[in-house]
Amino acid sequence: MSDPPPIVQFRAVNKHYGAGPPVLDRISLDVAAGEFVSLIGPSGCGKSTLLRLVSALSPVTSGALSVDGATPEQAREHLAFVFQEATLLPWLTAAGNVELPLRLRGVPAAERRVRAAELLALVRLRAAAELYPRQLSGGMKMRVSIARALSREPRILLLDEPFAALDEITRNHLNEELLGWREKAPFTALFVTHSVAEAVFLSNRILVMAAGPGRLHAGVPVDFPYPREATLRERPEYFAKVAEVSRLLHTAEEDRAA
């Protein structure tokens, strides 16, 4: 039996903005359906750009990129994006924000409301449905933002440092919950982060990138089985993996200096 085709496939992809220096240099990468892949690397290594290419917010300069067996543009329908900021519309309630992608798709109001209520229950914000973003904490806003992304029932979820602005305790909780939501609504994840610990906890594969120009430095499989418990963070093999990735991140930075 042959492997299913990758859901995201980069073949020698280059990216320049205008006449500037290359941002991404000959990226070749396969992501299998159902994977949770984290991208980690120094600032300027192009990891956010990589997500923008997959989401068709920005076109590749050369090379081939296929998403869900089609062009990024065509695959958009099955894709959702979570930004570093919650990017909620301040004039809509939490429920209104969760409904937004459905509204853009023309889903009838009654159906939207039911769906938003389910998703808010999933992210444990049922009681906050009628609150406006400014009444929510940073962690709550991010839950709404993820619920909004999940309302699209995405096959691929792109996350660009979604928890970077949160304190460590909130971030740990959200990491655990994110894996839980994934059990209920499976998606392939491409996750950009600056936190080695977070990447190890969440991913089944970590891609370490180097900067100037952005390229893949190393790939690290993370074999801890899902579902993962918070206690994983206390185990020696977890620490060993964090140390391994940290070391690779260090050599990635030296790679630039060379």
Partner: protein
């Protein structure tokens, strides 16, 4: 919060009392006549004597001011939507808006009478010309103020241009539009009075405050002239209060300018 409520009303009452005292002292010190510098008491007396005339005139002015204000609000929004559409529209049209704004209304008053006609149409035109510009500038800025990640999100989730306008750009522009309306609300009564003074009497007058200025001045009824000024101020306050209420009603649920600090 409650125990500091005095801070809202006491300072303006004190400053008002101080100004009135200063006024009386100035009158006593200079020995000026009532028809040059009437005292506040004489002004209120004149206001009382003329109250029927003043109220009728204020009503006439309110109609012109409201008409001009509504035209300015609608036309201002429409012009802003055009300007917000593309950069070439902004560079192409903005200079001509500035030309309209920079041309003193008094210079074009005869043309306004010629084109719009004397009386109410002319007054509404003058009010519009004086108050539309801040609405256009603020609203255009607001339409362009939607944050880049939000715009990305709308694009990525397949929003049509109409959806982007309706669900993102217009709500983003709302606080800016209301800020423009607040400035316009202070200008509209001034515009209407100016309009009545300029073009209102071309047909024998509409009886507005601007026309009263002309009448009282000719009759050298100086305390009544001051009373007319006072009435104009009150009309202005009503306009500003109405727009402030609208601003509150539309924004207080979500906008940061209504942030409560007691959470």
């Amino acid at each position: 919060m409650k125990r500091r409520a005095w801070i809202v009303w006491l300072p303006p009452v004190l400053s008002g009392a101080f100004l009135i005292a200063l006024w009386y002292a100035g009158r006593a010190a200079t020995g000026l006549q009532s028809w040059i510098l009437p005292t506040p008491g004489e002004i209120f007396q004149a206001a009382w004597n003329e109250h029927a005339t003043l109220l009728r005139a204020a009503g006439g002015t309110a109609v012109g001011a409201l008409g001009g204000f509504l035209v300015a609000a609608l036309a201002g929004l429409a012009i802003a939507l055009v300007l917000g559409g593309a950069r070439w529209l902004r560079t192409g049209l903005y200079p001509w808006l500035l030309v309209v704004q920079m041309t003193p209304v008094i210079v074009v008053a005869p043309i306004i009478v010629l084109w719009a006609g004397p009386g109410l149409p002319g007054i509404i035109t003058v009010t519009f010309l004086i108050s539309f510009f801040p609405i256009v500038v603020n609203t255009t800025q607001g339409l362009l103020s939607a944050e880049a990640p939000m715009v990305d999100l709308f694009r990525m989730y397949g929003a049509t241009r109409w959806q982007e306008l309706q669900l993102l750009r217009l709500p983003s522009a709302m606080p800016y539009f209301l800020a423009g309306l607040r400035i316009a609300a202070t200008l509209a009564p001034i515009g209407a009075i100016f309009g009545e003074y300029l073009v209102g009497n071309a047909s024998g007058g509409t009886g507005g405050l601007g026309f009263l200025v002309y009448v009282y001045n000719t009759q050298i009824k100086i305390p009544a002239l001051f009373a007319t000024a006072l009435t104009s101020c009150l009309l202005g306050f009503i306009f500003v209060a109405a727009v402030s209420w609208l601003n509150w009603a539309l924004l207080h649920h979500w906008h940061d300018s209504f942030e409560r600090h007691d959470r």
